[in-house]
């Protein structure tokens, strides 16, 4: 079974889905794989398409952040004091709140989303760069969690015996950790440890890596349990038995026979894990244990903006909305993917 994604994305992709289906049916009635059915369902799902477009846009913003910021002309770390005409941007006598703009946020044709109180850094530029941090940490953490969960779950389910007992206990223990609390407590410790042991300076590059690692490390156990359960039942299926009787090695059976059958589960889990990790990164940076100044991160921006909630609510609104829209788009897409891959749903 393949997911059939690559075939459907061929240059013919701009033909209407019905057209493809008609020609296929005209030739002969052929069985369609779950992947093909799911793909056809997804393309009819308006919510899925809209959220996919939003996600692609967000990814594009993250990739082209330097270009986008060049358009606006204010690097994210630059302290802006004066506008183009030489008028002050910040009211220094009043604690440094922005002058003018919508609701005292300092929005203008130069600073589209206003400027930060006190420092005068451009909110739009920081928001754009914050996208990078969010996506990078979330994707990195997800990749680590999914790889660990898949491999450990498959090994545990396939080999059984003491290996299974050991790994299952490990999963129990990992699931018993108060995760957020642990991640919160460990991130600064590991970042410091990296500095002490390997002489890597505790800067935000290291912090990015530590965040990915910690999120992934505490996130695999749940997936491993699901994968283990599915592997247990797949192991008894005839095609696995056939492969084994032909002399296939365990590695071959696990990766070539069992793994492809797990792909739908993994796909659904991945799309739902990413928004979780985006939220987690924002939460950690908000609490002051994730990404630090001067690197822009949405969580950090929300923490800063919370001090100005009375005088400048828009400063809080922008990163909050960015976070909300991103998480919503990923959740909506994840839901659609799950529905599309659900074999119990009526086949269309």
């Amino acid at each position: 079974m393949t997911l059939g994604v690559s075939e459907s994305q061929s240059p013919e992709g701009d033909l209407p889905a019905d057209h493809l289906a008609e020609t296929a049916e005209a030739k002969q009635i052929e069985g369609r794989s779950l992947g093909q059915i799911a793909w056809a369902r997804l393309r009819k799902d308006k919510i899925a398409i809209i959220s996919a477009i939003v996600i692609l846009l967000i990814i594009a913003v993250a990739i082209f952040a330097p270009l986008i910021v060049k358009l606006n002309g204010f690097p994210p770390d630059q302290f802006n004091r004066l506008d183009a005409d030489g008028n002050p941007l910040l009211n220094t006598r009043d604690g440094g709140i922005p002058i003018g703009g919508l609701w005292g946020s300092g929005t203008s044709s130069e600073h589209w989303l206003g400027v930060e109180p006190q420092n005068g850094r451009d909110v739009f530029s920081r928001l754009v760069y914050g996208t990078r941090v969010s996506l990078l940490v979330a994707l990195g953490g997800t990749v680590i969690a999914v790889i660990l969960g898949t491999v450990i779950g498959m090994v545990s389910g396939y080999f059984g015996g003491w290996v299974d007992t050991l790994l299952s206990r490990l999963m129990d223990i990992m699931l018993s950790f108060p995760t957020l609390l642990f991640i919160m407590a460990l991130t600064p410790v590991i970042a410091e440890r990296g500095q002490d042991l390997f002489g890597i300076p505790d800067d935000n590059k290291l912090r990015l890596g530590v965040l990915m690692f910690v999120l992934g490390f505490f996130g695999w156990a749940y997936l491993a349990r699901i994968v283990r359960g599915q592997t247990l039942s797949l192991r008894e299926r005839e095609f696995v038995e056939a492969a084994r009787s032909l002399g296939a090695s365990p590695a071959y059976v696990i990766f070539r026979q069992i793994l492809p059958n797990l792909l739908p589960t993994l796909l659904v889990y991945t799309t739902l894990l990413i928004p979780n990790y985006i939220t987690a990164e924002a939460a950690l940076s908000f609490l002051g244990v994730g990404i630090k100044e001067p690197t822009a991160s949405w969580g950090r921006m929300i923490a800063d903006a919370s001090d100005w909630i009375e005088s400048n609510p828009l400063y809080l609104f922008f990163p909050g909305m960015a976070l909300f829209i991103t998480v919503l788009a990923f959740n909506l897409l994840g839901d659609s993917v799950r529905d599309a891959l659900d074999p119990r749903a009526g086949r269309s």
Binding site: D172, I173, S176, F177, P178, L180, L181, F182, M184, A185, L186, P188, V189, E192, R193, D196, L197, P275, T279, A282, A283, F286, L287, G288, V289, G299, I302, S306, I309, E310, P313, L316, G320, M321, L323, F324, V327, L328, N331, L332, D335
Partner: protein, 334 residues
């Protein structure tokens, strides 16, 4: 049954020991000298040696772990400090804060009530709204109310606590001014009375409850739809039972079984501290204590609060397992 409970309890003890060991070694196996953290700027060779002797940092890590666990296990607690300046640390002894010398257990005990109120109040909210919305949606499947509930649930799941909390704070406290700014004094129900207490907690409850309410709505809806398609529901209807009995006595009861499990785990997790919500609304609960300890690098405090939270998660796990067996007659304990 008794046997099963005992076996689960033993397993729990093992898991707790493993967690305590992992936590201890992760936090304490630091090449940076913890003594430097304690004496701070006044460090010289002499003070470092003194601090090392006081806190036992000269001992091998495994001995330090043993000493630490002794304070948690032995009913008499343990003694802290070197000869001459010894003091008793009563059970359960989680050590003393590096920052201010206050026994960690006292701080945990002080901040726990706030977290308890927060978690329990939110749980009541999310259980009520989650199950009700899910039930109504399942019974009116495909109707407007179903679509509305599913939409609200999806929105709720995607609303990060961080964003929703500040949205409520801005709307009700800053803009509409219906509620006063959070004042930690109002967290104590018995000294300030119910009205300020409710005003203090209502927004945190809503903030914390939103995500869970959304998850429970989806779960209840899905379970209820599955259950109502079962044969025994048809049988119940065929017997001529009225719809109310069918829905509540036959349907809801079995649809709620998995929710009991998840509810126990969620509540157990939250009793260890709802960090974000506590931070937004300045609630001095366990979560706030935890993040303050992390930011000030206060190892004994971090260790204490992590272990305390782990106990809740682990205990919630076994309570749920046992409850599940009681509710669902199909589960046989062996």
């Amino acid at each position: 049954m008794g046997r099963y409970v005992i076996r689960r309890l033993l397993q729990t003890v093992v898991i707790l020991v493993v967690i305590s060991a992992i936590t201890f070694f992760l936090f304490w196996a630091t090449p940076a000298n913890p003594a430097l953290l304690i004496c701070g700027k006044n460090c010289n060779t002499e003070t470092v040696a003194q601090v090392n002797a006081t806190y036992g940092f000269d001992d091998p890590l495994i001995v330090q772990y043993g000493t630490y666990m002794q304070g948690l296990v032995s009913p008499g607690g343990r003694t802290i400090g070197s000869e001459g300046s010894e003091r008793e640390c009563a059970w359960p002894c989680f050590g003393e804060s590096y920052q201010n010398g206050i026994p960690v257990w006292d701080s945990i005990a002080d901040s726990f009530p706030a977290t308890l109120w927060l978690a329990v109040g939110a749980a009541v909210l999310w259980l009520f709204f989650g199950v009700m919305l899910g039930l109504v949606a399942a019974l009116r499947r495909g109707k407007l109310i179903d679509k509305l509930s599913v939409g609200i649930a999806l929105f709720g799941v995607s609303f990060p606590t961080l964003v929703f909390g500040y949205l409520l704070l801005y709307l009700f406290i800053v803009k509409l001014q219906w509620l006063p700014f959070p004042d930690t004094a109002n967290a104590a129900l018995f000294t300030v009375g119910p009205v300020p207490w409710l005003q203090f907690y209502i927004l945190p409850w809503m903030t914390l409850a939103l995500v869970y309410a959304a998850l429970y709505t989806r779960l209840t809806r899905a379970n209820m739809i599955d259950t109502m398609n079962e044969d025994y529901i048809r049988t119940a209807r065929a017997k001529g039972l009225d719809e109310r009995t069918v829905v509540f006595k036959h349907g809801l009861r079995s649809a709620l079984t998995p929710i009991v499990t998840i509810f126990g785990l969620d509540l157990g997790g939250l009793l260890g501290g709802a960090v974000i919500t506590e931070q937004i609304f300045s609630i001095t609960g366990l979560g706030k204590f935890a993040i303050d300890s992390v930011l000030s690098n206060d190892l004994p405090a971090i260790m204490g609060v992590v272990l305390f939270a782990a106990i809740f998660v682990v205990v919630a796990n076994i309570v749920v397992d046992v409850l599940y067996a009681i509710i669902d007659p199909r589960v046989r304990l062996s």
